[in-house]
């Protein structure tokens, strides 16, 4: 990882940290939309979503390795762009299938059960996937091939790794695309209808089961992209990497207002920047920021920044 080293607490370090914070926040945003969309349609916190992000990284690692792109291969020539693209497609498709499978096997049978039962199941699925990943991939950290040669890009006073700029750019494109999809397409309007009122959506001819499966697929695709982008920036994969990332993205979704896609984007960026600011002064407290934010939001404004204040559906 390329980080311009400057003395902690200086102004240049602040700018530097803000840059890193925006990149990290973009990752949170990509994961957070998965939480927020699933909550929107099912009022369920899908705690297994962090694991889908982890799998996104592994799903691209294995085909890359199979193609001969091994981590730490020294001076190996850079990976052709179309291969990187194909790896993205592979990770996105595999995660979409994983997400739909989780919904089909774990959540759909509980559609009419209490929300608590579904929530506990979600935690169970999360643990299951972590352990399955440890069995399948081993608990040892793995390196990740340099799909893009890491360089440092000088932007005025700060230097950002090109992989961080890629994270920001790709996340911005994905989030904009998602917003357009939800607001302006037929399946998008079905998603909105289901999240407003599942019963009425059904009466309008919306195939609710298919719409819910699609919601999981889209959330998982976003998480897959996040997983791969992070692996390209910080090439260290572990089966547990989804835990903290997932929790923080969940906090981002709550901060922005759970159920709101623009809220997830805003919450992700804010959390990333906030972590960076704390890290600028007190690096040892960085990991606590998300949890402090969660507590404050739940106490002060449980609906989040852009969340609906209206009545709760029963």
């Amino acid at each position: 990882m390329l980080l311009a080293q400057a003395t902690p607490g200086s102004f240049d370090t602040l700018l530097q940290q803000l840059g890193n914070g925006i990149a990290m926040g973009s990752v949170y945003a990509l994961i957070a939309v998965g939480y927020t969309m699933v909550y929107g349609v099912l009022q369920l916190i899908n705690f297994a979503h962090g694991e889908v992000y982890m799998l996104g990284a592994y799903y691209s690692y294995w085909p890359a390795r199979w193609l001969g792109y091994v981590p730490d291969a020294g001076e190996k020539p850079s990976v052709p762009l179309y291969i990187v693209g194909l790896l993205f497609v592979a990770a996105m498709s595999a995660c979409a299938l994983t997400g739909m499978l989780i919904e089909r096997l774990a959540y759909r049978p509980l559609r009419k059960a209490s929300r608590l039962a579904a929530l506990i199941t979600a935690i169970g699925v999360s643990l299951l996937l972590q352990n399955l990943a440890q069995m399948a991939f081993s608990a040892d950290p793995r390196g990740y091939p340099q799909l893009v040669q890491q360089t440092s890009v000088q932007l005025g006073p700060i230097a950002l790794a090109n992989t961080k700029l890629i994270i920001i750019a790709v996340a911005a494109i994905m989030m904009t695309g998602l917003h357009l999809f939800v607001q302006h397409t037929r399946p998008g309007s079905a998603m909105r209808a289901v999240s407003f009122d599942m019963r009425t959506a059904r009466l309008m001819g919306v195939n609710v089961n298919r719409t819910i499966a699609m919601t999981f697929a889209i959330g998982s695709i976003m998480a897959a992209v996040a997983g791969m982008l992070v692996a390209m920036d910080q090439p260290r994969l572990t089966p547990m990497m989804g835990l903290m990332a997932g929790l923080k993205a969940f906090v981002a979704a709550v901060l922005g207002g759970i159920g709101s896609i623009p809220g997830a984007a805003l919450g992700g960026l804010l959390l990333g920047v906030l972590e960076a600011l704390v890290g600028w002064q007190k690096p040892e407290y960085t990991e606590a920021v998300a949890f402090a934010v969660l507590i404050v939001v739940l106490l002060v404004k449980p609906t989040g920044l852009l969340g609906k204040t209206g009545r709760e559906k029963v």
Binding site: R186, S189, A190, R192, A193, F196, D197, R199, T200, A201, R202, L203, M204, G205, V206, N207, V208, G310
Partner: protein, 239 residues
């Protein structure tokens, strides 16, 4: 005799341990307005929910155009023209009137026909046309009911199920709504209407079923039922 569009035969429906519908049989013929009247909790809404696939009967058959639909999915039925405007209206409060109507046409892919039906809906309900860009949640109760019916029409129904269209509305508005129901029926839509307001429902229907405690108690021509002493005493507040 017109052909039968909808036929329920001996259906039994349960909510958990509660036996909500007992051996309910009824039929609706093409072109008719049939009403289901009865007290609160008698099973009228349950009957509609069972017809449109939101609830499953434990026994008995539900036939739509001759085909058994007791296990069909609601969205498939909508595509076949069996459409319900739900009780409590189910308006999407955060969508505009126009968006609400367009979602009604969700299952249809023939864009020109949808556009024509949208124009037609605004023609039937000029009030909605005035409020096109307003959010559904800001409409009055009567306007929301009009929107619910207009939205159901956007699904191109052949059989329209209306659940308590008069609920919570002022008498004058109720008159307007029922005049519109007559008009929709004359344009060729068969209607099954659930109402607590037996008086107006019997005036605006061809045949009626009276449901009590989950059973069909009385059935017959609406004009006859209006003079039936039992109906008069129990539901029309006379006698």
């Amino acid at each position: 005799m017109a052909e039968t569009v909808l036929e329920l035969e001996g259906i039994n429906v349960f909510y958990g341990a509660i036996h909500a519908l007992r051996d309910v049989s009824l039929c609706v013929n093409a072109g008719e307005v049939v009403t289901l009247i009865g007290a609160n909790g008698a099973g009228k809404t349950t009957t509609l929910a069972t017809i449109c696939g939101l609830m499953r009967p434990k026994s008995g058959s539900v036939k739509y155009n001759g085909a058994d639909i007791a296990r069909a999915q609601t969205h498939e039925l909508v595509a076949q023209g069996l459409v319900m405007a739900p009780e409590g209206r189910g308006i999407f409060p955060n969508l505009t009137v126009d968006e609400n109507l367009r979602i009604g046409a969700y299952a249809r892919r023939d864009k020109p026909a949808v556009a024509a039906d949208l124009a037609h809906a605004y023609e039937i309900f000029p009030r909605l046309s005035e409020r096109k860009r307003q959010k559904g949640g800001t409409l009055s109760g009567g306007e929301q009911q009009m929107l619910a019916i207009a939205r159901a029409l956007m699904s191109a129904p052949k059989l329209l199920l209306l659940d308590e269209p008069s609920l919570g509305l002022a008498p004058l508005i109720v008159q307007t709504i029922f005049a519109t129901i007559d008009r929709i029926n004359k344009q060729g839509v068969t209607i099954l209407l659930v109402e607590q307001n037996a008086n107006i429902a019997l005036k605006h229907s061809h045949r009626a079923y009276v449901i009590e405690a989950g059973r069909v108690d009385i059935e017959g021509d609406s004009a006859q039922l209006r003079n039936d002493p039992r109906v008069k005493a129990a539901y029309l507040g006379e006698g």
